[in-house]
């Protein structure tokens, strides 16, 4: 294609490359088709970065932005000496890691076991059902979670009592020590099926002759899973793990904590996003809210760049 275009150019204009403007005229249709959306994305995604100035000021409502008092890094200083923010940071990282590990282990396990089901009708039905929760909103999912965990008739308490594991209903959502795990398992419940899609594709791409060779050597089912299936999908696992490290400060989602958290578990449930919402919009401390938001974005970008570098070193697959 490139070649043909160059040839056409050579015919019409020997030696000289067509000028910038004449190329623009020739490609005017492509420009008209793309530029409105480019301006749109610049307006909504790039222009607001200008608001990061607030983080270096002590914002007072009513004053124009350039007449605000500049305070340098004072907001960031305050954040990192604030016990509340450090607790928020701890919660965020803990819930991210718990959600990440639980999601990966369950999705890989589910994909490997689903792959062992030979009846394609049953396999497909299970998959369809497993995708269902992905399409429900977090509003609905957290509603279902709190119903399932409720002390009155909640299915978790009912089953655990029937099995005599507990003697009276546990107030799951009322105690901080359970909260991180509830968020982790809520994530697993919602996304288990969805997360397996990529792993199933990776398993399907493994060369079947490897399995045949292993069978000849007398390998049983478990040895084949361990020595062929898992190593076969290892590149995909590594890439996805690295990619997910960039979300470390997302805390495994914002809505789960926002809806399931309550005054009783606030020391365990608040994440950076909720902190920004609370200080920034509800309490009107814009400067502090923006500072926390910048911290999150900058750390995420650094993590992604590091992850990309790590992926490059591990193999030739790259993310960006």
């Amino acid at each position: 294609m490139q070649h043909q275009v160059q040839q056409a150019e050579i015919v019409t204009r020997p030696k000289a490359r067509p000028s910038f403007w004449s190329r623009m005229v020739r490609q005017r249709q492509l420009i008209f088709m793309s530029f409105p959306m480019v301006f749109y994305i610049i307006l909504f995604a790039y222009i607001p970065i200008w608001g990061w100035m607030f983080a270096f000021q002590q914002y007072k409502p009513g004053l124009p932005i350039f007449e605000q008092k500049w305070v340098g890094f004072a907001q960031f200083d305050f954040l990192f000496n604030d016990a509340a923010f450090l607790r928020v940071l701890r919660n965020t990282i803990a819930m991210s890691l718990i959600s990440l590990v639980l999601s990966f282990v369950t999705a890989i396990g589910f994909a490997v076991l689903l792959n062992e089901i030979r009846k394609s009708f049953i396999k497909r039905s299970i998959q369809t059902i497993s995708y269902l929760p992905h399409f429900l909103s977090w509003v609905i999912v957290t509603g279902l979670v709190s119903t399932a965990l409720s002390t009155e008739d909640g299915i978790v308490n009912v089953v655990l009592m029937k099995l005599h594991i507990i003697s009276e209903p546990v107030v799951w959502l009322g105690e901080g020590k359970y909260f991180w795990w509830i968020v982790g398992f809520a994530n697993v419940w919602k996304e288990l099926g969805w997360n397996t899609i990529i792993f199933l594709a990776a398993i399907a791409a493994i060369d079947p002759s490897l399995y045949e060779a292993a069978e000849m050597d007398g390998a049983n089912r478990y040895r084949k899973m361990w020595h062929i299936t898992l190593p076969g999908i290892k590149p995909v696992i590594v890439i996805l793990l690295i990619l997910n490290i960039g979300w470390l400060l997302n805390g495994g989602g914002f809505e789960v904590q926002y809806f399931l958290g309550s005054g009783q578990v606030i020391d365990w449930s608040e994440t950076i996003d909720i902190f920004v919402l609370k200080y920034g919009l509800r309490l009107g401390n814009y400067s502090l809210g923006v500072a926390a938001g910048i911290f999150k974005t900058v750390v995420s970008i650094i993590l992604i760049l590091l992850a990309n570098e790590a992926a490059k070193r591990l193999g030739d697959e790259r993310l960006i």
Binding site: M37, L114, I198
Partner: protein, 306 residues
């Protein structure tokens, strides 16, 4: 051969029994909360408070659904949700595909620049407060337009991820189709409309589903940008108001007719919540199984490059 087949092998049998039981467990855990809510939504509210409703209603009634649609704001909110989903999805998918086409053209001079501008948006965001001020400056607070325009995590006109998925698909189309249309005198816009767009049907179905699910399920933009206008409230937002408030549904001042009051006397927040949950989730649950083949392929295309 016959002998081999009939010989009993304990290992595969045990494994498959265990595996099928585990799958059954996963299916039950996945479906139970939803089926339980369905049962509660069809059960008489007063009876539900006595407990013991699991998978099947004890006292059948449609009163909960009547209450949802006759009283309160759910009916209006339902239509706002439908409007934002249809308009947002139709506009979003066409515009995303159009940009994706332009950056799939190797000769396009701004191809690299535009790709970088969109890819970067995948990795950072300006944050909540700056975005709030932008929306405020654009006079979009408390307008329907903010639902279509604001690029949240899931909604918005165009997302870099969706665009890259479509671009990958377009790049896999045979170049000769586009070439021959151009030789016949078609410009890029014409090529996009009559050749590329129809050929992209599978991937566009996937992206439409993604955008529609995002539009239908989001509540955050209503909460942040439009919470002071009741007529802009969406289904998800109504559900939040019910979940977060302990105020009794009966206290709704909008109950005017005696019929509505009569209904309100016989329903409880729990059963109303169940009914709205079903109303808010059923439309999407009817669509996704039909698109399953496409979105599975689309997701693989987007994630595992080359």
């Amino acid at each position: 051969m016959q002998a081999v087949k009939s010989r009993f092998k304990p290992e595969p049998f045990l494994f498959h029994t265990f595996n099928y039981l585990l799958m059954l467990f996963i299916v039950i855990v996945t479906l139970y909360p939803f089926l339980n809510t369905l049962a509660i939504s069809f059960n008489s509210g007063v009876d539900t408070t006595r407990g013991g409703i699991y998978l099947w209603p004890r006292v059948w009634t449609l009163k909960n659904y009547e209450a949802v649609f006759l009283t309160g704001h759910v009916f209006d909110a339902f239509w706002v949700s439908v409007a934002r989903t249809t308009i947002g999805t139709a506009l979003g998918v066409v515009l995303t595909a159009m940009v994706a086409y332009t950056i799939s053209r190797r000769e396009f001079m701004f191809r690299k620049l535009i790709t970088i501008i969109f890819v970067l948006t995948l990795y950072f965001s300006a944050g909540l407060i700056p975005s709030y001020f932008l929306v405020k400056e654009l006079n979009l607070l408390n307008t329907f337009l903010v639902y279509i325009l604001f690029p949240g995590a899931t909604a918005g006109l165009i997302s870099g991820f969706n665009m890259l998925v479509i671009r990958t698909y377009i790049s896999s189309l045979p170049e000769s189709l586009i070439e021959s249309a151009k030789i016949d005198g078609a410009g890029d816009f014409r090529v996009f409309v009559s050749v590329v767009f129809p050929l992209c049907a599978p991937v566009l179905a996937t992206i439409s589903l993604f955008i529609a699910v995002g539009q239908w399920n989001t509540w955050f933009d209503t909460f942040i940008f439009a919470s002071s206008r009741q007529n802009l409230s969406t289904l998800q937002y109504e559900l939040i108001k019910l979940l977060s408030s302990t105020t009794n549904f009966n206290a709704n001042p909008n109950l005017t007719s005696t019929a509505a009051k009569d209904i309100a006397a016989r329903i409880t927040p729990l059963s109303i919540r169940a009914a709205i949950t079903i109303v808010a989730s059923v439309p999407i649950l009817f669509v996704y199984p039909f698109l399953q083949r496409h979105f599975v392929a689309g997701l693989q295309l987007g994630s595992v490059k080359e």
